[in-house]
């Protein structure tokens, strides 16, 4: 147990170092912009005095290391400044838009795991046969197009030509759901409104599927490669000799060790999805962080850009810690070793 604890402490301290690095990188990028942030914020009609006052309040006249100090102090207090685009605190904006994006990414992640892993297992089981080749080409196709292309194609096929799914939005306007978590799929259940739950699910299905397609392809390819490697191990040979059923071998003995290398990549795919969510949200008019992010980027709204990037990186770092711990849980060699890796 103590080695698990040590692993957790080690992971979190590494994550802290990375987060400090991320904050420096973002700060550096924010200071790289040509032009005076105060001038950009106030617009061309402001007087020199007004700009000077804002420069003073934003600490822009202080040396750069002090500016970084103020920056870290503010974010550690949960203060990301005020957005020039919405005139509200950036944290309020993000709190409003982030749940919709996270909900989309989480549903897509679940789809990736529930569809990608079994496809990879089937492929490995029938290696070299027709079904394997077919699945390989399909998963390669999934990886080969950006998610906005899948979003457009899926929307065209299943929302317009075959009007099965809704074209845009998170839920019908007629449902009034009290926001508790911001996740509609959970809030509707808390409300006990099953109709609304299915409606929300109906809305999220197509965007989440479009978002998950490249992840599904990636997961299937990796699982296939790892399963094939595991199938060649002597202990699987022994199971076969004992007459253990192929299904039991696949699901019980070959799957778990094959899952470990895949998990790392699934963590990275999650990061990619956080980015790709921007693309899918744009197609499906999903009211998430994307529209906000793109709007603030186009307006050079410094505080909001920094806040958005910071929150997304934080989410990603957290996911990776969780993935690392999951791997440790699945792999006894890491769990019990004194010095992991």
């Amino acid at each position: 147990m103590s080695s698990i604890l040590r692993l957790i402490v080690q992971r979190i301290s590494l994550a802290l170092i990375v987060l400090i690095g991320v904050s420096m990188l973002i700060f550096a990028i924010a200071r790289l912009i040509p032009g005076d942030p105060a001038r950009i914020a106030l617009g061309p009609n402001a007087t020199v005095e007004q700009v000077e006052i804002l420069r003073e309040t934003l600490h822009l006249n202080d040396p750069i290391y002090l500016q970084y100090g103020y920056f870290v102090r503010d974010i550690s207090q949960g203060d990301l400044g005020v957005s020039l685009y919405t005139n509200r605190p950036v944290t309020t904006d993000i709190a409003q838009f982030l749940p919709a994006t996270l909900e989309l990414v989480i549903v897509a992640g679940i789809m990736m795991i529930c569809i990608g892993l079994p496809l990879g297992m089937i492929s490995a089981r029938y290696k070299g046969q027709f079904i394997d080749n077919l699945l390989r080409v399909v998963s390669l196709l999934g990886v080969s197009a950006p998610s906005f292309v899948w979003a457009v194609i899926l929307m065209l096929l299943f929302a317009y030509f075959l009007p099965i799914f809704p074209v845009a939005g998170r839920i019908e306007d007629t449902y009034v759901i009290k926001a508790v978590t911001g996740f509609l799929l959970i809030d509707t259940l808390i409300d006990g409104n099953i109709d609304a739950f299915f409606n929300a699910f109906w809305h999220i299905f197509l965007p989440a599927f479009a978002l998950s397609l490249s992840g599904i392809g990636q997961a299937a390819r990796l699982t296939r490669a790892n399963m094939i490697e595991t199938y060649n191990k002597p202990y699987i040979e022994m199971m076969r000799a004992y007459g253990v059923s192929p299904f039991r071998i696949a699901s019980r003995y070959a799957f778990k060790p094959s899952l470990i290398p895949s998990l790392t990549i699934i963590g990275l795919d999650f990061a990619a999805m956080l980015g790709n969510a921007f693309l899918v949200e744009a197609v499906f008019a999903w009211p998430g962080l994307s529209r906000y992010g793109v709007a603030v980027i186009l307006r050079k709204d410094l505080n909001a850009i920094v806040g958005t990037v910071l929150i997304i990186s934080l989410t990603f770092v957290l996911v990776n810690i969780i993935v690392d711990l999951l791997i440790a849980f699945l792999n006894p060699r890491i769990r019990y070793s004194q010095r992991p890796k």
């Binding site: 690095g21 990188l25 950006p146 065209l156 030509f161």
Partner: protein
């Protein structure tokens, strides 16, 4: 290398990949000769002929100002290929150098360099590129810069892991005993043994760079009009779904074809590498 190409041609999947890649490169190079309306790559208008569905003169239809979509897609290949080449030419040497340095040196330098790499890897690539792009002006040059900024860490990580295992090998130890300098060992001993991995990753990445750049353009943060670009064409057309479906479907499929081609070949190369070792 000759042998490799023979093997690639023998496998139906990688053969298809090579075919797709040569088709895309060939049509981009000879765009002036094979496209029916070469002038339509620029800012011309032909309102009498706007928003036409695919037909015999315009096999992929025309866009909202009457330009031939097929012509514009072929010219868009040029910009995609150029971006892919430039991003990889800049980012691969940087990443490889950092990876060799961190992996071979070990110790503090290793720790610092790899944490820097971790920092870049913990911001989703697209988001980092968007931030860089948004803060600078959205031009092609800045697009390359933004994508390059997020691409080198992947090579650092790859070469770092390879270097760490290679440096325990006999030939490296032998070179050390003879007294070879660390630069000699890094670049003349270890690096040649990493070229397989680098070439394979570059083949796969060529497609992915194109994918990311088109995503940036799709969000309006990449290549700007009137330069034809696949991502911005999809974005423009998406507003006119479902009626003018050709505006989005053909440029989208064009991206799919390039990336798919590079993935097929990269996959075959990787399989070859696995059987080699």
């Amino acid at each position: 290398m000759k042998l490799k190409i023979k093997i690639l041609l023998a496998n139906p999947l990688s053969f298809m990949g090579l075919l797709l890649i040569s088709l895309v490169f060939g049509s981009a190079i000879f765009a002036d000769f094979i496209t029916p309306f070469p002038l339509h790559k620029g800012a011309v208008v032909d309102f009498s002929n706007f928003n036409q569905a695919p037909n015999l003169t315009n096999i992929m239809g025309t866009d909202l100002v009457g330009r031939d979509l097929f012509t514009r897609i072929i010219y868009a290949f040029r910009i995609s290929i150029m971006l892919g080449v430039v991003v990889l030419i800049i980012s691969v040497p940087i990443g490889v150098f950092m990876g060799l340095l961190a992996g071979y040196s070990g110790g503090k330098l290793d720790f610092v360099l790899m944490r820097i790499t971790d920092v870049f890897l913990s911001i989703p690539p697209l988001v980092l590129a968007m931030a860089v792009m948004g803060l600078l002006e959205p031009t092609i040059l800045n697009g390359m810069l933004a994508v390059t900024a997020m691409w080198w860490p992947w090579y650092t990580r790859l070469i770092y892991n390879l270097t760490r295992s290679e440096k325990e090998e006999g030939y490296v130890v032998a070179a050390e005993v003879v007294g070879a300098s660390r630069w000699h060992i890094m670049f003349r001993e270890i690096l040649p043994n990493c070229t397989h991995a680098i070439i394979t990753k570059m083949t796969l990445d060529f497609g992915f760079v194109i994918l990311i750049v088109s995503s940036l353009s799709f969000l309006g943060l990449g290549v700007q009009a009137p330069t034809p670009d696949l991502g911005s064409m999809v974005a423009e057309g998406a507003r006119y779904l479902p009626d003018s479906w050709w505006l989005t479907v053909f440029p989208g499929l064009a991206i799919l074809i390039i990336v798919f081609g590079f993935n097929l070949v990269g996959d075959a190369l990787r399989d070859m590498m696995d059987t080699d070792s």
